[in-house]
C-alpha cells in the first residue's frame, strides 16, 4: 500500500513537471523564432570581433569558466560526503540538475536580466536568448574577450550560487519543488543582485561597492536564502541528537579540493584577462584559503582536543568564500587577515550560534557562505587598496571610511533582499506544490524514494 502511494506521488509529480517543461519549451521556441525572423544576425560581427579579441585573455577566461563549472560537481561531492548514505544521490542529482536548469535559464533570460542595459535594479530584455550576444567583445564588461565567453563565464556563477543553497535543506526537500524554486530564485533573486553589483547602471555598482568575484552576489545571496530555507523547511526528523555522522568524509575532502582548484578560475578569472590582476587574485585566493584552514583546525584543536579533517576543509571553503569579494583589491597580508577571520567567525557561528538558535542548516550553507560572505564583504571595506588595483578603492585601513560604509550598506541590502525574497519564494512554492518530502520518504532516504536508485550496492 505504501509502495502504491509512493508510486502515485512520483507519477503525479512527474506529470506536472513534464507539463511545465513542455510549456516552457513552447514559449522558448516561439520567442526565439520571432526574434530571429524580425532582426536577423549582423553578418559583420565575426570579422570585426577578431580584430579586438586578445587571445591570451580569451584563453584564460575560457579555462576559468571551465574551472568554475567544475566547482558545482565539486560542491556536490563536498555536500554529498556529509549527508547520510541514503541521500547521497539526491544531493549529486540536485547539484547537477541545477547545472542543467540554470544554464538554460541563463541563456533564455538570466543573462539579459543580469547584464543587458536596463535600469538601476534590473537588466533589460534586449539579450533574451542571447540575442546580440556574439563574438564581438562588449567593452562595458570585458573589452578583450568575446561577449559570448564573458556570458559563459558568468553562467557558471549563476549555476553554483543556487547549488550552494542545497546545503541548508539537504535530506528533506522534494525534487520537483527544488527545480521550480531554483528557477524562480535565479530569476527573482540572483539576476537582480548580479545586476545591482556588476551590471552597467546597477545601483550598488554606482555607489562604488566592491565585489570582485561575487562575495555579495554569490555567497551572501545564497547564504541568506539558505537560512530562510532552513527556517521554512524546518528540522530533519531526529535533529540534532539522532543524526548519523557524515557518510563519506573522503568525498567531502575531494569536493573541497575541487572547490579550491575551481576557485582559481572563480577569482583570478574575474580579472577577465591574463594579466597582473589575475595573478594577484590567484595569490590572495590561495593565501586566504590556507590561513582559514589552519585557523579552523586550531580552534577545533583547542575546543575539542583534536584537529578535525572536516573542520579544516570547512575552514578552507570559508576562507575561499571570504576572499572572493576582496580578491581583486587586497595584498597578500590583507589575505592572511581575511583568512584568519574566515576561519574564526564562521567557526563561532557553527559552534555556538547554530546550536543556540536551533535551526537545522544541514550542511552549514548559511554558517559558511552567509557568515563568511558577510565577513568578506566587510573585510573588503577594511583591506582594499588601490596599490593592488587602481580601478578599486582604498578601504578603512588605508584611510577611506567611505568604502567601509558602502560595503556595510551593500551587505545590509543584500542580506535583507535574499532573506526576505528567498523566504517568500519558498512559501509560494510550498503553497503550490509542497516543499518537504513525506515522513516516510525522509526516513527511507531520498535516493530510493525520489530517484529509484541507490548510491552504493551492499553485495557485489
Amino acid at each position: 500500500m505504501m509502495e502504491m502511494t509512493n508510486e502515485s506521488v512520483v507519477r503525479r509529480d512527474t506529470t506536472r513537471m513534464a507539463k511545465l517543461l513542455v510549456g516552457g519549451l513552447v514559449i522558448v521556441l516561439g520567442v526565439t523564432g520571432s526574434t530571429l525572423a524580425a532582426e536577423g544576425v549582423p553578418s559583420t560581427a565575426v570579422a570585426s570581433a577578431q580584430a579586438k579579441v586578445d587571445t591570451g585573455d580569451t584563453a584564460w577566461v575560457l579555462v576559468s569558466a571551465a574551472l568554475v563549472m567544475l566547482m558545482t560537481p565539486g560542491l556536490a561531492f563536498f555536500y554529498g560526503g556529509l549527508v547520510r548514505r541514503k541521500n547521497m544521490l539526491s544531493v549529486l542529482m540536485q547539484c547537477l540538475m541545477i547545472l542543467c536548469l540554470i544554464s538554460l535559464q541563463w541563456v533564455a533570460l538570466g543573462y539579459s536580466l543580469s547584464f543587458a542595459p536596463g535600469n538601476a535594479f534590473i537588466g533589460g530584455l534586449k539579450w533574451l536568448f542571447l540575442h546580440g550576444v556574439g563574438l564581438e567583445p562588449n567593452a562595458d564588461y570585458a573589452a578583450t574577450i568575446p561577449h559570448e565567453v564573458f556570458m559563459m563565464f558568468q553562467m557558471m556563477f549563476a549555476v553554483i550560487t543556487p547549488a550552494l543553497i542545497i546545503g541548508a535543506f539537504a535530506e528533506r526537500m522534494k525534487f520537483s519543488a527544488l527545480c521550480v524554486f531554483m528557477l524562480l530564485w535565479a530569476t527573482f533573486v540572483y539576476d537582480p543582485v548580479a545586476h545591482w553589483v556588476w551590471g552597467v547602471g546597477g545601483f550598488l555598482r554606482q555607489w562604488g561597492a566592491l565585489d570582485f568575484a561575487g562575495g555579495t552576489v554569490v555567497h551572501i545571496n545564497a547564504g541568506m536564502t539558505a537560512l530562510a530555507a532552513a527556517l521554512v523547511l524546518g528540522r530533519r526528523q531526529g535533529y540534532p541528537d539522532g543524526m548519523s555522522p557524515p557518510h563519506n568524509l573522503p568525498f567531502a575532502v575531494l569536493g573541497a579540493a575541487l572547490l579550491w582548484f575551481g576557485w582559481f578560475g572563480f577569482n583570478a578569472g574575474s580579472a577577465l584577462g591574463a594579466n597582473g590582476l589575475a595573478g594577484s587574485a590567484f595569490t590572495v585566493t590561495h593565501i586566504a584559503a590556507a590561513a582559514a584552514g589552519v585557523t579552523w583546525a586550531l580552534l577545533d584543536w583547542l575546543k575539542h582536543k583534536k584537529p578535525t579533517t572536516l573542520g579544516m576543509i570547512t575552514g578552507v571553503v570559508a576562507g575561499l568564500v571570504s576572499i572572493t569579494p576582496a580578491s581583486g583589491f587586497v595584498t597578500p597580508m590583507g589575505a592572511i587577515w581575511i583568512g584568519l577571520g574566515a576561519g574564526a567567525i564562521p567557526w563561532v557561528a557553527v559552534t555556538y550560534i547554530k546550536g543556540a538558535l536551533g535551526y537545522d542548516d544541514t550542511l552549514d550553507a548559511f554558517g559558511v557562505h552567509g557568515i563568511g560572505g558577510i565577513w568578506g564583504a566587510i573585510a573588503t571595506g577594511l583591506f582594499a587598496t588601490k596599490s593592488v588595483n587602481p580601478a578599486g578603492a582604498d578601504g578603512l585601513l588605508y584611510g577611506n571610511p567611505l568604502l567601509f560604509w558602502i560595503q556595510i550598506k551593500t551587505v545590509f541590502i543584500t542580506v535583507v533582499w535574499s532573506l526576505v525574497l528567498g523566504f517568500v519564494l519558498l512559501k509560494i512554492v510550498d503553497v503550490f506544490m509542497g516543499l518537504r518530502v513525506s515522513e516516510h520518504e525522509e526516513r527511507v532516504g531520498l535516493d530510493l524514494t525520489l530517484h529509484r536508485e541507490a548510491a552504493y550496492t551492499v553485495i557485489d
Binding site: M243, W347, T351
Partner: protein, 113 residues
Amino acid sequence: MKYIIGVIQPDRLDEVLKRLTDEEIHLVTVSNVVGRGRQKGVAEVYRSHKEQGSLLKKVKLEIAVNEAFVEKTVKAITDGAQSGQIGDGKIFVLDLQECIRIRTGERGGDAIG
C-alpha cells in the same frame, strides 16, 4: 560439533587469528559488525557537533569445530583478545546440528576444518 561465535575488539583480530592458526584451527568467518555493551564509545566531533554514537565497531568471528577443538578455540580467542578493559567482547558456544561441505557433500565432523 559446536558453533563458536566470538565478538572482539577490531584491533585484536590479527592476534586472535595468529593464535587460531597456531592451534591448527583454519576455518573461520570474519565480519565487521557494530553493537553495544557496557563499554562507552568515543564521541565523534563534526563541525563542533558531538555525535555520541551508541553502537561501537566490533569484529565477529564464527568458527565451527569438533568437540576436541572447543577449548583450544575458546582459549585462542580469549588469549588473543583479552586486554582486561571493558569492551573486550564475548564468546558464545552453540550446539551445531549439521555441517555439509558443498564441494564433496561430506557431512558431520568430517566436513569441518
